[in-house]
């Protein structure tokens, strides 16, 4: 802390007028010490930021706090404020401000560094050299810029939006053109007070966890097994055999789900066959069918996910170190031993991220039970059925019943729980801790 303060003091005293000027006019320091190109960029940045702030930035930030003051009334031609748009543009403005601040500090620091070099009589780093470093030492900056921008706008911003919604009263009757307000922790208080909420949450969460674990394991081992099977030397026409799972993969998931739902319905072919053989129609997916519906969900999900895991595993298998296997063979290791000692550790290492991705995907698998068995509310569950996952429940709450803010609050709670668990698992996993095991 003290050293920081000293540095700051030092900076204040020692910095030249140009560096100080660059605190007001960005890029000034760079102009003074010969960094024209960079200085221009900084200057341009400041100008565009000012233009943006005047045109809408300031009002967006204000709107973020007020969430609108004038209710729209189309009948009397009053334009009015749209709270939700104001919220999202407010977040957008904050992101821009943060980015700008980052460059602002960079600009001052850069100018100061140039001053120091100048005073020590060192040559400045030319822009050509800096540009070249983007393709070498700082290659990652060049490469990550676009993905980070995309993720910020299309992933982070919506998530921040949803998190903030949990602190508003958006939903029910309060949707635009009505004005939305900040309500602090009122939604969370509501959830704590309600006796309805906890039991449903507990039941769904336990089923959701079971589902995620079982279906991930099932999909993963089935996919891996299939890839190994197809990788065997004695199998001729690999491309042909592999085509069948690919065919399944090529048909969009929702179509598969609708098809399976029909097959298992009362009028579907499976029941028709049972009846034709003198049996009684069986409600695979109906109201009373708790476990049969769950099992069908698991199997159908397996059918959908296995092909892609198989493809992936095939890719990884082709990347194995063959010499290791030859050595093992020479040492007389059997096939099982090779599998457990060589293939499995390698595959687990290479595919831990996939496993995690699968786990997350399955945990938040909305489609399966929405299509197979949607639209039921059961006893003992608040606005949900006994096959619904948390994400289905959220959907029921926030879309079907319009409780956006409550839905957001619940998803925030779920999010906190699940992300902590998965973060711990991830950080402890070998593929995170020992990234270079297999190199």
């Amino acid at each position: 802390m003290k050293t920081k303060w000293n540095q700051w003091n030092c900076f204040i005293h020692k910095s030249s007028w140009a560096v100080k000027l660059s605190m007001v006019i960005m890029g000034a320091g760079h102009f003074r010490y010969g960094g024209i190109a960079k200085g221009l960029i900084y200057l341009l940045m400041e100008i565009s930021m000012i233009v943006y702030a005047v045109r809408r930035g300031i009002s967006d930030i204000v709107g973020f706090f007020t969430l609108g003051t004038q209710t729209a009334d189309a009948w009397s031609g009053i334009e009015g404020d749209n709270s939700i748009v104001m919220l999202i543009m407010g977040i957008f403005a904050w992101i821009l401000v943060l980015a700008f601040l980052y460059f602002y500090v960079k600009n001052v620091k850069g100018a100061y560094a140039m001053q120091l070099r100048h005073e020590q009589g060192l040559a400045q780093i030319g822009w050509k050299k800096e540009l070249a470093s983007l393709f070498d030492q700082k290659f990652y900056v060049l490469v990550l810029a676009l993905p980070v921008l995309g993720v910020c706008i299309f992933n982070i911003l919506p998530i921040v939006f949803m998190i903030l919604i949990a602190f508003t009263n958006y939903g029910g009757k309060i949707v635009p053109p009505h004005l939305v307000d900040w309500v602090g922790f009122a939604n969370f208080k509501k959830l704590l007070v309600l006796s309805k909420f906890a039991p449903t949450f507990g039941r769904i969460l336990s089923w959701n966890l079971l589902w995620a674990v079982v279906s991930t394991a099932l999909n993963y081992f089935a996919g891996l097994g299939l890839a190994l099977l197809l990788n065997k030397e004695c199998v001729k026409g690999k491309a042909f055999w592999r085509a069948f799972p690919i065919l399944a993969y090529a048909i969009p998931g929702f179509i598969t789900l609708l098809a399976f739902k029909f097959m298992f319905s009362y009028g579907g072919p499976i029941n028709q066959m049972i009846m034709a053989n003198g049996g009684e129609a069986f409600g695979f997916l109906d109201l009373d069918a708790r476990w049969s519906a769950r099992c069908i969900g698991l199997l159908v999900n397996c059918w959908i996910s296995v092909p892609s895991i198989m493809l992936l595993a095939t890719g990884h298998l082709s990347n194995r170190d063959v010499s290791l296997y030859e050595a093992a063979k020479m040492d007389g290791a059997g096939r099982w031993k090779q599998f457990w000692k060589l293939t499995m550790p390698y595959m687990i290492f290479a595919t831990t991220p996939v496993l995690l991705g699968q786990f997350i995907g399955n945990f938040n698998n909305f489609g399966i039970f929405y299509f197979l068995r949607g639209g039921l509310y059961m006893d003992g569950y608040f606005l949900a059925s006994d096959t619904d996952l948390l994400i289905n429940w959220l959907y029921n709450l926030s879309i079907d019943n319009n409780y956006y803010s409550i839905g957001a609050a619940i998803s925030l709670i779920i999010f906190l729980i699940t992300s902590t668990i998965s973060l711990i698992v991830y950080v402890k996993s070998p593929s995170y801790r020992e990234e270079d095991t297999f190199q």
Binding site: A248, P252, L423
Partner: protein, 273 residues
């Protein structure tokens, strides 16, 4: 003898797997050739009589349901987001695997955590953003979102790059290659299977997603196949089946074109010197 027995079991298992995967597909394919057009007039699993009428109707009767148009829309979106998305994902994964910079581990943790967030909760925000950017009813608005979100799934690809030895990288560095050159000349050619896998997945996703296109495309002529099929009337089952079978075609074709690259993409062993 043991070998023969082994082969027997292997093929038996393969047949079973093939059946499990093929049967529902076959059912869908045959249903699309059903003459009656109604799913309930089937004899058990399969239609009583067949005809090409549905496919003919699918491509010629475009007044209500313009399938050919939807098909090309989807093809456009899928190709666009495949190229852009694969590019971004591979680059992200490579960087995360090879570079050590301050923000790396926090970034890895953040993406991990962000993935846990139920995505439909953010859909409202995406829709509002797109209205503000004026990107509703634009196919490339979709591409932007698909490609922009694609790097979030970089973990799989990173896992792959982690298994490619760094020894060659270092050798090349001693020879004076820049990081960019190392990536382009050495690592990229070696990661063909992963690129193909990534391309295939990012190509397939737009074919099956209907939440996002439904949200962003209001005009029926701009629909993607998935949205279009969901908007079909409930009595149009055969058309639905025909439409879904036809969706699978480009993906299967793509697979057969790329399968070689995917499976024996890198000359295993040559690397490990």
């Amino acid at each position: 003898m043991r070998k023969k027995l082994d082969a027997f079991w292997t093929y038996g298992l393969l047949l079973l797997v093939a059946f499990i995967f093929f049967f529902p597909c076959l059912w869908l394919i045959l249903a699309s050739f059903s003459q009656s057009g109604s799913i309930y007039s089937f004899d058990g699993f399969f239609p009583k009589s067949y005809s090409f009428a549905t496919f003919h109707k699918l491509f010629t009767d475009t007044r209500m349901y313009n399938y050919p148009k939807w098909f090309f829309n989807t093809l456009f979106v899928a190709t666009g987001s495949c190229i852009l998305g694969t590019f971004l994902t591979i680059l992200t994964a490579y960087t995360m695997s090879r570079f050590n910079f301050k923000a790396r581990k926090p970034m890895m943790k953040t993406t991990m955590v962000l993935g846990m967030f139920p995505s439909f909760m953010g859909m409202t925000a995406v829709y509002l953003l797109m209205t503000q950017f004026g990107l509703i009813n634009h196919l490339w608005g979709l591409i932007l979102i698909y490609a922009g979100g694609a790097p979030m799934g970089y973990l799989t690809q990173k896992g792959f790059f982690d298994t490619i030895p760094r020894a060659i990288d270092e050798a090349a560095k001693i020879d004076g290659a820049t990081n960019m050159q190392i990536f382009l000349k050495i690592n990229l050619p070696m990661s063909k299977p992963m690129i193909v896998y990534t391309a295939l997945t990012s190509f397939t996703w737009p074919w099956s997603d209907f939440i996002l296109p439904k949200l962003l495309l209001k005009e029926k002529d701009l629909y993607t196949v998935a949205v279009g099929l969901m908007s079909l009337d409930e009595t149009e089952f055969a058309r639905f089946a025909a439409g879904s079978v036809f969706i699978a075609l480009p993906i299967v074709v793509l697979y057969f074109c790329l399968v070689k690259n995917m499976v024996d993409g890198i000359a295993a062993g040559a690397v490990k010197g």
